[in-house]
């Protein structure tokens, strides 16, 4: 591999093999290909641009150091997202230790209003442009506690099963089901609320 063009046309597994032998240009190409996805995962979990940049870059550094351990059981992108997720979870745990329990968390423990909430009958997201919908989801995600947001992200975007999320977050499957339910209902409520405000 001597020219840039060859790197850009190479498949991920080939670039990984080259990077495992110490080829930093091959690794740079992998970063270029997947950086948006890795950053997006960090941003969705952390809700902070600066932290997401730091953690996504830290994930790439860790990946370089552990590249020899990557056996290709999953895709490189999946392996990378697991690294950034773990870094985000560590960071969120550190932050949690530094702050007191939020009202949202107490709500979850005591049942929360979402269990009793009437289902939103009308699809709150229909007739919305993709860009507008993204903005609304972004605003709604902001209002979730990090525990609920994390479960939602791991399930909806990382497509993890309940038991896998439970293992990753160190809690029971029941807690994961409850948190996911709460998070979805809250999202539905927030999106519907945004719709109603617009109609007034």
């Amino acid at each position: 591999m001597s020219s840039k063009v060859q790197y850009s046309s190479a498949e991920d597994p080939q670039l990984v093999r080259l990077a495992q032998k110490g080829d930093s240009e091959a690794f740079e190409e992998l970063v270029a290909r997947h950086r948006d996805k890795i950053y997006a995962r960090a941003y969705t979990m952390m809700r902070n641009e600066e932290e997401a940049l730091d953690l996504s870059q830290e994930a790439w550094i860790k990946a370089w150091q552990r590249l020899v351990q990557f056996q290709g059981d999953s895709s490189f992108a999946t392996w990378m997202t697991r690294i950034v997720i773990n870094l985000c979870l560590d960071q969120l745990r550190r932050q949690k230790r530094m702050r007191s329990e939020s009202v949202d968390e107490m709500n979850e423990e005591s049942g929360g209003v979402e269990r009793q909430m009437e289902p939103v009958i009308i699809n709150p997201t229909e007739r919305l442009e993709r860009g507008e919908l993204r903005k609304r989801i972004d605003a709604a995600l902001e209002k979730l506690s990090h525990e609920h947001r994390t479960v939602l992200v791991l399930h909806e975007f990382e497509e993890m099963e309940y038991k896998e999320i439970a293992r990753t977050m160190g809690c029971s499957i029941g807690t994961i089901m409850s948190r996911l339910f709460y998070a979805r209902r809250r999202m539905a409520g927030l999106l519907a609320d945004l719709n109603r405000k617009e109609e007034l």
Partner: protein, 166 residues
């Protein structure tokens, strides 16, 4: 209001987390209960709305700038690791020289003592070892050998005043 347990089962059905028989049972309940059906529709809509959300999020930095920080940090970490992994030459040598020196000293003392004993039986020969030096003394010949381990690791060697050796 439907039971919380059923609410969670409706969600589990949507997520494909139920066994075949459970899924059939919950699907039947949804078909028979408008409230359960509404909840199922809401969860489904929310899930659909979120699909593809992350695809719109991009790194707010140019490719080169983003990579340069990663590249710099990788170089720094690798330099630190290689410095840790490669000890200084003196550290490597001293690890070998100390035990070799001690063994050589003991061997020398042994050889000299044996040599003297073979030549004269009434010659006073003494050999003494301590932590930092080995002394061999032959009174008849007026010869004294003192073998210091190097670098000397005793209180005197650590004195800052060089005159202590005078």
């Amino acid at each position: 209001m439907i039971e919380f347990d059923l609410q969670l089962k409706i969600q589990a059905l949507l997520d494909g987390e139920l066994s075949e028989s459970e899924a059939r049972e919950v699907a039947g309940l949804i078909a028979a209960n408008p409230e359960a059906a509404a909840l199922h529709a809401e969860l489904k809509n929310t899930r659909r709305a979120m699909a593809g959300f992350e695809a719109g999020i991009k790194v707010p930095e140019a490719r080169e700038f983003y990579w340069s920080r990663i590249s710099r940090e990788i170089s720094r970490v690798e330099q630190t690791n290689s410095a840790k992994a490669t000890p200084a030459l003196w550290q490597v040598l001293s690890g070998w020289l100390k035990p070799i020196g001690a063994v050589a000293a003991v061997a020398l003392v042994g050889v000299l003592a044996w040599h003297q004993a073979a030549q004269t039986s009434d010659t006073l020969v003494t050999a003494q070892m301590d932590a930092d030096s080995i002394t061999f003394q032959n009174d008849e010949d007026g010869v004294t050998f003192v073998w210091f381990t190097y670098p000397a690791e005793n209180r005197v060697a650590n004195e800052s005043d060089l005159n202590t050796l005078n």
